[in-house]
């Protein structure tokens, strides 16, 4: 490790590289050294010089389709978009008071939220390294605000620990780390690690464990003011006569080892879950609306695609105008198809057998989200929770608190479920009224009393039953990636696919955009060579 020889610092090295090779070399070097490798976005594609009169048909007005249309129009193509719904944005979507949503099976919800409140059924948070999305939000004037991803004061709930009662995240986290630190310190002091760790580093490690784990002078993690400084107090520090703090008792170590504790802690370590995160001011669909504004004259709504044909000269798409129930065709030289694979696998499509197999090989997930409007912000007013998530091992998965209008006095909408896997299928199979009842029953375990008392109205979206998606997003496996991914993203003569399903940033808006930029860049190159 340290040799005492003065080494060139990383910054000195990078400065030298930048001087010698310019910014491209700098970026390359930074990537190699572990910096700047957070996204494959290097800027907008700046395509130009399309052949005069060249045409492109874009299928789907979600983010991938809208961005493809925007950039290809700028490059000089004549673009037309066909969209199944009567709105643009796709899974970038918000439900507000006055909206009506009918799911497959026919259940219709009339959303009753107060003005300004919303549920984001699909995407709801944006990682700071999703630079493509952030770039276009800025370019298209979408105002972003912080999404409060990490909050120490929320709850962790496990039905198999702490007597089934929720405990504060900070307390469980502090006790997990404190106990681990104590055990590791004990191992060091019992000379169990002498072979692995040098004498100097054993000292450094002990110092770190005492500081990180809030251990006492004897390397024990005990109830006291030190531990309470991380986990919270029985009586917090105050002023005057009773100003002295009273420490809090520790949680039972067996309970602290419940997997709900470490998985909730580990959740925030995931690359895509790290702070800072963002959300659009006013609802997620502000992004879809801003993208749609760039190309609004190009969109044909209510178009249900039934056939995609191609020959050496061009592409012909057959669709039903669902408003007039008439069958129509649209032709173009090229096609960017962003229809989710869940739908596309049922469309009569003239592509190679290998491409069709790829389209049919990828199943879709079926998450469920439930928004609950509460009369007042009891989580803020009574429990000092401002944004963030409480984790539960019940099917609802979590409660997430709103990040907007903090300290507001009026009704607010919290996310009462973000269910996945079997829990999502169970909720999806219910009526909207039954889903709300389950969300209230399970949420009341975290917030007894106030949850039902303050409830006003709710809305749910089960992605398995979303008529235009039949699922939330593509679920690749190592096996399907290996067998089908490169086929799926390759141009099939005059057709190229784009969307989150054609990326390795699956299930995120960033994946849809990166896929779109890659697809249209290759399409443009092919069109110029043709």
């Amino acid at each position: 490790m340290g040799t005492g020889v003065q080494r060139t610092t990383r910054r000195q090295l990078l400065s030298a590289i930048a001087l010698a090779g310019g910014t491209a070399a700098l970026y390359q070097a930074m990537t190699t050294l572990g910096h700047a490798a957070e996204t494959q976005f290097t800027g907008p594609p700046n395509l130009s010089g399309a052949r005069k009169g060249s045409t492109v048909l874009v299928l789907g007005a979600g983010l991938a389709g809208l961005l493809a249309a925007h950039e290809l129009s700028k490059a000089g193509y004549k673009v037309r978009i066909l969209e199944f719904q009567n709105r643009a944005g796709g899974r970038n979507w918000s439900l507000r008071g006055g909206d009506t949503y009918t799911e497959l099976g026919g259940a219709t919800q009339k959303i009753g939220f107060q003005p300004g409140n919303y549920l984001n059924p699909g995407p709801w948070r944006i990682p700071h390294h999703h630079r493509t999305l952030l770039h276009y939000c800025r370019q298209f004037g979408v105002a972003l605000e912080p999404f409060i991803q990490f909050n120490h004061n929320t709850y962790i709930h496990s039905s198999t620990a702490f007597g089934g009662k929720p405990v504060r995240f900070k307390a469980a986290k502090a006790d997990f780390e404190g106990n681990v630190a104590e055990l590791l310190a004990k191992s060091v002091n019992q000379k169990a690690l002498d072979e692995e760790v040098s004498a100097e580093d054993r000292e450094r490690l002990l110092e770190a464990l005492r500081g990180w784990g809030m251990l006492d002078k004897d390397y024990r993690y005990v109830s006291g003011l030190r531990a309470s400084a991380h986990r919270g107090y029985e009586r917090p520090p105050g002023g005057g006569v009773n100003g002295a703090p009273i420490p809090s008792p520790l949680l039972d170590f067996h309970d602290v080892l419940d997997p709900q504790v470490w998985t909730s802690m580990g959740f925030f370590m995931g690359h895509e879950m790290q702070t800072t995160m963002f959300q659009p001011v006013g609802g997620m669909d502000m992004i879809g609306k801003a993208f749609a504004r760039q190309v609004q004259d190009l969109i044909t709504y209510n178009a249900k695609v039934s056939k995609i044909a191609q020959d050496r000269k061009g592409v012909e798409v057959t669709y039903t105008d669902t408003a007039s129930n008439t069958v129509q065709t649209a032709k173009a030289d090229w096609c960017v198809c962003t229809i989710p694979l869940s739908i596309l696998s049922q469309v009569d499509m003239q592509v190679t057998d290998e491409m069709m197999a790829a389209i049919r090989a990828v199943p879709y997930s079926g998450q469920v989200k439930i928004g609950l409007e509460m009369r007042r912000r009891f989580w803020e007013e009574d429990e000092s929770i401002y944004g963030g998530h409480s984790f539960t091992d019940q099917e609802i998965g979590l409660i997430s608190y709103p990040n907007n209008d903090l300290f507001g006095r009026g009704p607010a909408v919290l996310l009462g479920a973000f269910a996945r896997e079997p829990g999502a299928y169970w909720l999806a199979g219910m009526t909207p009224e039954q889903r709300i009842e389950v969300a209230l029953a399970q949420g009341s375990v975290i917030h007894p009393g106030a949850y039902r008392k303050e409830f006003m109205t709710g809305a749910s979206v089960a992605w398995s039953r979303v008529p235009w998606a039949l699922g939330c997003c593509a679920r690749w496996s190592e096996e399907t990636r290996k067998e089908h991914y490169q086929t799926l993203v390759a141009m099939d003569r005059r057709i190229v696919l784009a969307g989150e399903h054609a990326s390795y940033v699956g299930c995120w808006m960033e994946g849809a955009l990166l896929s779109s930029l890659d697809a249209i860049t290759r399409l443009h190159k092919r069109a110029l060579e043709a």
């Binding site: 039905s159 869940s342 049922q346 199943p363 997930s365 999806a428 008529p467 390795y504 699956g506």
Partner: protein
């Protein structure tokens, strides 16, 4: 209906799925561990899993694409076809190997083949499912 459904759910034992098995396979997810109640009978598996898409009456639905009806469906006359679809998936539908046990899949396939206007009485066994089930997929980004 609501009360019956929720009471029924509460009667099922909550079974933990190992935390490591719930590692997110890329994409946005809620985090933490969820302990799913494990259904046993065919009717329970149908209610907790299948009716999310195929609907409580087995009629499926149609939007931009279609979810096939299971009701009165002659494709269910032989057991191998539904076993293949349930274990391996088809189009948007995921394969359930790994999420459901072979016994659970056998129960629900038997249930669907004898309900919703279907009358294919020959039982489906766990061994029938095991013979056709693939290895569970490895989660990927």
């Amino acid at each position: 209906m609501m009360t019956r459904s929720i009471l029924f759910a509460a009667a099922l034992a909550a079974v933990a799925v190992p935390a490591a098995a719930q590692a997110p396979a890329g994409g946005d997810t809620g985090g933490g561990v969820v302990r799913y109640r494990q259904p046993t009978t065919g009717a329970e598996v149908y209610e907790r899993i299948c009716q999310a898409c195929h609907m409580a009456d087995g009629q499926g639905a149609t939007g931009a694409g279609a979810i096939p009806a299971l009701a009165n469906n002659p494709k269910l006359s032989g057991a191998p076809y539904p076993i293949m679809v349930v274990t391996r998936g088809a189009g948007a539908m995921p394969g359930f190997t790994g999420m459901l046990s072979n016994a659970q899949m056998a129960e629900v396939i038997g249930y669907v083949r004898t309900h919703f206007g279907n009358a294919y009485a020959k039982p489906v066994t766990e061994a029938d499912v095991a013979a056709l089930a693939p290895a569970p997929p490895t989660p990927s980004h």
